[in-house]
Structure formats: structure tokens, C-alpha cells
């Protein structure tokens, strides 16, 4: 027993994968015949946008920060894409990403240069972006928003009816994330800044540059996630990504990244996003009433976080 625990302690990702397997097994036992290739394919399809938001969130949480503007940025990018699609897909896409870039720059300046607390800064910009989108929507009433076919394929399409297209984007982002975090100087610096900002300063690192780029990347990833989301729903509304805000933080925490920074990684976030998606799927399948669903959801996140703290203490 203690040997198994020691193994899990050394490889927390293993514990997470095991947990995911238990959940999948749970579904199969509760509703035999549920777990089919199609079910797996759908789970991946739905997990992708969450995992892409989680990628940005992982980047900032590793430095001990947080980005609460990701949902507004995702919604905003989706909405801008849909309302500008008439002027050309490429133009609309670029505009959507520019929104991410702009919010990222503002967040980055606030957190990195002006040293505003990340939670406060991004809460503020998130609200502002949300409000700005509402104002913007009132000017855009005339033109009928529509989602470009390319984006619909990205967000809802499947190759040979089984492999979700967004999985390819996700896989590319995941590969890039893992490489960046573990094999590049910038990745090392994210962990370093999260672990001890003062030590980085003394080692001659200009910490603000690291944080600035970090928040820009996070917002860009949020904008990309918004595109995947709107491709999936094929309808741009102003609360599109709202429900993803807290899960984007939760999947990072479940994945074992410390909210104080300096420890964790994207591999955990991937499994975290899958666990949350499967969990939602279980609760929906069991036809649990919404309030009970929320209670269970919260309780499971709490117990996972507690178990994690035990494991890594």
C-alpha cells in the first residue's frame, strides 16, 4: 500500500489518469453500453476548448497568477469572428485574435509593469471586455452574425466521423505547451518566477518581461479557445464561454499545478480537463438535477484538491 502511495507521489499524473479511468469505468457500470468510440470522440471534442483555456491558465498559474478574463476574451473573440465574417473569414479571424492580443497586452502591462495583483487586474479587464462586447453587439444588430464554415469544421467536425478536428489543434497546442514548459528558457523562467520572484531578480532576470509575455500568451490561447467553442455551438452569443471560467481554473488545479506557482505542468491540466468533461458527462447521464450537480461538482473538486495536497506535501 505504502509502496503504491510512494509511486503515486512520484508520478502524480499517474494518479490522475487512474482517477480518470475510474470515472470512465463508473459510467460504464452505471449505464452499461455508454462508453463507445463515439462517446470517447465526443468527450475529446468537448474537452478540447476547456483544455485550450486551461493551457493559458496553466501558463499564468505557474507564475503564481491567475487570469479571470479568459472567459470574456473567449466570448469576445467568438463574437467578433461571427459579426465580421461577412468581411472575409481571414479578416474576421485576425480581428478575433487581435482582441486576445490586446487584452493580453493590457493584462500584461497591469500585472508585469504596474504590479497589479493578477486576480484584481484580470477581473477588471474581464468585466470591461464583457461590457464592451455588449455595447459592440448593439452596434452590430444590423448584420446577421454567422460562423465561417472553416471554424464550424474546427469546432464540431470529425474526420471519418470519429476523430474530432479540434483534437488536432489541441494536440498541436499541447505539444507546444509541453515543449515550451520543459525544454525552453521561457518555460524554465515561468516556474522560476512562480517559485521565487526575488531570486529571479537577483539572478539578473527582468521578471516583468516574463510575466508580460505570459499574460499575452494566455489571452491569445483564450481567444483561440473561443473560436473552437463558437465553431461547436455555431451561435455566437454574449455568454458563450461564461461557464468555462471556473472550470478553466479547476482543471489546472486538479492537474496538480500549485496556485502559488512554481510547480505543476500542462500534462496534468490535460487530464484535469478530461476528468471535468467526463464528470459533467456522468452527471448529465445520471440525470441529476442541476443544483445537485453543482454540489457534486464542487465536492469532487474540493476532495481532489485535498487529496492532491496530501500527495505532494
Amino acid at each position: 500500500m505504502s509502496k503504491a502511495l510512494a509511486l503515486l507521489r512520484g508520478h502524480t499524473i499517474l494518479a490522475l489518469v487512474l482517477l480518470l479511468a475510474v470515472f470512465v469505468l463508473g459510467i460504464e457500470i452505471a449505464r452499461p453500453g455508454t462508453v463507445t468510440p463515439l462517446w470517447v470522440s465526443n468527450a475529446l471534442l468537448f474537452a478540447a476548448p476547456l483544455a485550450i483555456l486551461g493551457a493559458g491558465q496553466t501558463l499564468v498559474m505557474l507564475t503564481g497568477g491567475i487570469d479571470l478574463s479568459v472567459a470574456s476574451v473567449a466570448t469576445g473573440s467568438a463574437y467578433i469572428l461571427a459579426t465580421n465574417a461577412a468581411s472575409g473569414d481571414g479578416f474576421a479571424l485576425a480581428l478575433a485574435l487581435v482582441l486576445g492580443l490586446a487584452v493580453g497586452i493590457v493584462n500584461g502591462l497591469g500585472v508585469a509593469v504596474l504590479r497589479v495583483q493578477p486576480l484584481v487586474m484580470t477581473l477588471g479587464t474581464g468585466l470591461m471586455v464583457g461590457g464592451a462586447m455588449t455595447v459592440y453587439s448593439q452596434y452590430m444588430l444590423a448584420s446577421q452574425p454567422h460562423v465561417p464554415a472553416m471554424i464550424q469544421t474546427l469546432g464540431a467536425g470529425k474526420l471519418i466521423g470519429l476523430i474530432p478536428v479540434d483534437l488536432f489543434l489541441w494536440a498541436a497546442i499541447a505539444a507546444l505547451m509541453l515543449f515550451t514548459l520543459h525544454r525552453t528558457g521561457f518555460g524554465r523562467l515561468l516556474y522560476a518566477v512562480g517559485d521565487n520572484r526575488e531570486a529571479c531578480h537577483l539572478a539578473g532576470i527582468r521578471v516583468w518581461r516574463v510575466l508580460f509575455l505570459d499574460y499575452v500568451l494566455c489571452a491569445l490561447l483564450a481567444a483561440i479557445a473561443g473560436l473552437v467553442l463558437v465553431g461547436g455551438t455555431n451561435a455566437a452569443d454574449l455568454s458563450l464561454a461564461d461557464v468555462y471560467l471556473l472550470p478553466s481554473v479547476a482543471c489546472v488545479i486538479i492537474g496538480g499545478t500549485s496556485i502559488f506557482g512554481g510547480r505543476g505542468g500542462y500534462a496534468g491540466t490535460i487530464v484535469g480537463a478530461l476528468i471535468l468533461t467526463v464528470l459533467t458527462s456522468i452527471l448529465t447521464l445520471l440525470d441529476v438535477p442541476e443544483p445537485v450537480k453543482q454540489i457534486l461538482y464542487g465536492a469532487i473538486i474540493l476532495s481532489l484538491a485535498a487529496a492532491y495536497a496530501r500527495l505532494t506535501a
Binding site: 525552453t184 522560476a192 521565487n196 531570486a199 531578480h201 539578473g204 512554481g262
Partner: protein, 507 residues
């Protein structure tokens, strides 16, 4: 005063600890540690860094449960499940780090610990710090005084057994003396003290006997009189001691004359703490800085390292004037800092490798892919050169203090530098590691780099440096070659006394 008093066996035995074992995960801190403390005795607990001294103390005070072993107080077997239980049994300790809440005033801190303020005042009077304002917040008070307040609080609860863990590590000589006087007084009243220190001279002067730990095992108990070499041998194990005892190569010849100095400071000023400080550090030279606590040495090092901006004056490296706005500017000019508190320079949750490689990512160019093999080689060279213990290499917070200090130095060895600014690098470090560090500094200097070294342990200036300057109240009051830098001479200058004695001023 020294004590060879025969002790009739058991009735005099106040504390008896036997066979204590303790492991943290895969790290074994104690294997078979024991200690016998008599009533009315000052007992030194000694050992290299990582030998398990602090762990043993924390087992005795109930901070950690032991995995094995037995503890008896005055003959009765006891198990303390918390420091509070140990305190009720009359065992109180003063740990390495001040245990005061920074945002509360001293008086509030005492109330928090339920210690009567009057009793604390009495002890403070004995320590000569009665003028300290108890309504000041702990964070506003300097480190040496915090240690004394900690000590006052501990003594105010009238412990039968007082445990002092490295209390003098950061105390200037004058305050240390007062602590010793109070501790001796405590013994005179029939109480006992367990005293942990790396300073051999202190131990010899203060303690009656010493218990020596090595790798978590009690390897010996000895009277402290004339036992310095014996104790060092026991601490290090015979083999290592022999290697460490070989004198560090005295350089002197290494200094390259004629060239522009590696570092030149001209008329440096910083607030009220530094004024008109000028000196030169030659290429291949080790220049010692001696000072009592708070004479501006911290600010001097910070200004040179780019951590703070000097208000006036110039700093030149290899003849070139520097504009230091950020540590990166100093590092680019080859000036690198090993700060007073090693934890300020370390990433506690990251590996030795990441800690050592950290400074290599300072420029944008290095933000891209890492050449893993080259990095591993560079790091391993530095780690081997410093013989860092790699047992707990995944997280440097699990390393002993000495090994953490080596990791900080290894970072600069791996990245390269011209002048090493070492601020009290051996504070709280065992004698074996200390000798290794000084030997390394000599080696660095012999290879053409320079070292500016502040140390709070005056005898070390003579051992490690070529030349010394003394700071007093923000000014340089003396400069002397190492040969003249004996403790007495340095102490006089450190108290600002040299000017009055022109006969003793060096040529």
C-alpha cells in the same frame, strides 16, 4: 569556569534521549541519535550541516514525532506531542529563525505566547536591550535584536532545559557576549542548556560537554576543553577531516598588479547608511569586509550588485564606469552576488539543476529551446566542483543549509563571472563546508577572478582574504593586509577605534 565536575550518574541526569530515528520520505535525518543532559550543564550539540542537529532538537521539543527512540525527563519516560507539551515539562527552544509574527508588536507577540511581559522585560534588562520599544512591530526590528527577543521570551518562561539553535549565527560579537553571560547565569541557577553552534571558540568557552552527531548518529560525547580537533574529527569522520585540514592554498602571489582593478568603488553614498566609501579590489584578490551588524555592509553589497541604487559615487569594473539599475547590469559587468540569506536566491521547489541554470535564461536569446546536454554538463561541472550532496536534488528546499549555499555559488560558477560578491557565505554552516567554501574562494582567486567577502566571523578574514577593510557607521575606518587582520585589530576598527591609534594604522 570550565567544568570537569564529576557527575554522579543518574540522579543528575535531567534529560536522556536514546536511539532516536526520524525519516522524511526517502531522506533519513536521524538513525540513532542520543543525548544525555545533566542538571546545571551547558551541553553543546555539534555536527556538520545535515547531521541532524535541528531534527533532534525538534524531536525533543515535540515538533516532530520520532519514528523510534526514547526520551526521559528526570528519569520519567515522556512523549511530547507538541511544543506546548514540552514547554509544560520545562523544555523551551529558540530556533534558527525568529518565531515572531511580523505584523504584531513585540508586546502583542508576547501576549500571543502567553508570556508575562514583566518577566520578558527582566531578561531584556539582563541582555542590555531594555531600551527596545515593545510597541514596535516585529518586522521593524533588525534580525539580531529579534533573536534576543526570542531568547528573552524563552527565558521568561523559566525553562528547566533551554535549547539554543544557532543563536549566535548572526549576532555581532558584543551581543553574543551578552547572550553568553545570560546563559552562564542560567546554568549558575541550576538549569540546563543545549547549545547548537558551529563556532568552535564559542563552544569551548561556554559549554561543559559536547555531543557530536554525524549523519544522524551520535558518534561521541566529549568534554569541550582542548577538544577542537577531536570534535572536528568526529564531525567529519576521519577521512574527510584529513582532507579538509590541509590548509587552503594561501594565494598572495595570485594578485595581478598593474591592470585596472576588477572592482573600484569611488566615494559611494547611500542614504544615511553609507558615505564616502572608496576602495579597490585587484584582479585575483580576495578583499575581506569586516563590520559589526548594520554598519552599511548590506547596502554596500546591494549597491555593487545592482540590487539598490547608490545615491552618489561611482562603481567601476575593470576600469569601466557602470550604470547599475538592475542586478542584470551588474551581472553583465561580471559582478555577481551571493546574498546574506541563501533562500532569497533559491527556487525552493525546483531542482538543483534548474537553480544552477537559472541565470543563463536572463537574456531574450536564451528564452528559446534549451540545449539539454550542454546544460547538464555545465551544471554537473559546477555541482561536482562544489561536491554538492545530490541525495535530495529534486527540490533544493530539502537540502541542508550548506548544500543550499553551494547551489547559490554553483550558479555563478556555471555562468561565469569576474568578481564574486560574497555576503556572509558561511553563516550557520558547518566547519567542513566552511573550509570547502574558503578553499573554493582561494581557487577562484588563483584563477584570476576576484572576491569581495563580508563575513560576520572575524577570524575567517585572516584565513580567507588577502586584505581587509573595516566598515564602521557607513565609512571605511581601516584597511590592512590579511597578516595584520587578527581578531583584536579588526574588532577595534569595527568599533571605530582605529583612528585614535595612528601607530597601529597599516602603511
Amino acid at each position: 569556569m570550565q567544568n570537569g565536575r564529576p557527575v554522579s550518574a543518574d540522579e543528575n541526569l535531567l534529560l536522556r534521549v536514546t536511539g532516536v530515528a526520524k525519516r522524511f520520505g526517502s531522506v533519513i535525518a536521524l538513525r540513532a541519535a542520543g543525548l544525555e543532559l545533566h542538571a546545571g550543564e551547558i551541553h553543546a550539540l555539534m555536527g556538520a550541516n545535515g547531521a541532524g542537529k535541528s531534527t533532534l532538537v525538534k524531536v525533543i521539543t515535540g515538533e516532530f514525532p520520532a519514528d523510534a527512540g526514547e526520551l526521559a525527563v528526570a528519569g520519567a519516560v515522556s512523549v511530547f506531542r507538541s511544543p506546548a507539551e514540552a514547554r509544560r515539562a520545562g523544555i523551551v527552544s529558540v530556533y534558527q529563525d525568529p518565531a515572531l509574527v511580523p505584523d504584531l508588536t513585540i508586546a502583542q507577540n508576547m501576549r500571543l505566547a502567553r508570556v508575562p511581559l514583566e518577566a520578558v522585560r527582566d531578561v531584556m534588562r539582563e541582555l542590555g536591550i531594555e531600551r527596545l520599544d515593545l510597541t514596535r512591530r516585529a518586522r521593524e526590528i533588525d534580525y539580531p535584536h529579534l533573536r534576543l527577543i526570542d531568547l528573552s521570551r524563552a527565558l521568561a518562561s523559566k525553562p528547566r532545559i533551554l535549547i539554543l539553535d544557532e543563536i549566535t549565527a548572526a549576532l555581532p560579537a558584543d551581543l553574543s557576549e551578552r547572550v553568553f553571560a545570560v546563559v552562564r547565569d542560567w546554568r549558575r541557577r541550576g538549569h540546563s542548556v543545549i547549545f547548537i553552534s558551529h563556532r568552535m571558540a564559542e563552544v569551548a568557552a561556554l559549554a561543559d560537554r559536547a555531543t557530536i552527531l554525524r549523519d544522524g548518529v551520535t558518534v561521541g560525547v566529549t568534554s569541550t576543553r582542548d577538544a577542537e580537533e577531536k570534535i572536528v574529527d568526529m564531525m567529519l569522520g576521519a577521512e574527510v577531516a584529513k582532507a579538509a585540514a590541509e590548509a587552503p592554498p594561501r594565494a598572495a602571489a595570485g594578485i595581478i598588479r598593474g591592470a585596472a582593478p576588477a572592482l573600484e568603488v569611488r566615494d559611494l553614498g547611500f542614504g544615511h547608511t553609507l558615505s564616502g566609501v572608496s576602495f579597490r579590489l585587484g584582479v585575483g584578490e580576495i578583499l575581506g569586509v569586516a563590520a559589526l551588524e548594520g554598519q552599511g555592509q548590506q547596502e554596500l553589497f546591494d549597491c555593487i550588485a545592482g540590487v539598490r541604487r547608490a545615491a552618489s559615487g561611482e562603481i567601476l569594473a575593470n576600469g569601466r564606469a557602470l550604470e547599475l539599475r538592475h542586478p542584470a547590469d551588474a551581472i553583465r559587468a561580471g559582478l555577481v552576488l551571493v546574498p546574506a540569506n541563501r533562500l532569497h536566491a533559491l527556487l525552493p521547489q525546483r531542482s538543483i539543476r534548474e537553480n544552477v541554470a537559472l541565470s543563463s535564461f536572463a537574456t531574450f536569446r536564451a528564452w528559446g529551446p534549451i540545449t539539454m546536454r550542454a546544460e547538464r554538463k555545465r551544471v554537473e561541472n559546477a555541482v561536482e566542483r562544489l561536491s554538492i550532496d545530490r541525495r535530495a536534488s529534486a527540490e533544493v528546499r530539502r537540502l541542508s543549509g550548506g548544500n543550499q549555499q553551494k547551489v547559490v555559488i554553483a550558479r555563478w560558477l556555471a555562468s561565469g563571472f569576474r568578481t564574486l560578491l560574497c555576503f556572509d557565505p558561511t553563516r550557520g554552516i558547518d566547519i567542513g563546508t566552511k573550509r570547502q567554501i574558503y578553499a573554493l574562494l582561494r581557487e577562484i582567486a588563483a584563477q584570476g577572478a576576484s572576491v569581495l567577502l563580508f563575513t560576520s566571523e572575524l577570524p575567517e578574514i585572516r584565513l580567507a582574504c588577502d586584505r581587509a577593510i573595516v566598515l564602521f557607521a557607513g565609512r571605511i575606518t581601516a584597511e590592512m593586509p590579511a597578516a595584520e587582520a587578527d581578531e583584536a585589530h579588526l574588532l577595534r576598527a569595527a568599533h571605530g577605534l582605529t583612528a585614535a591609534e595612528p601607530a597601529e594604522a597599516p602603511a
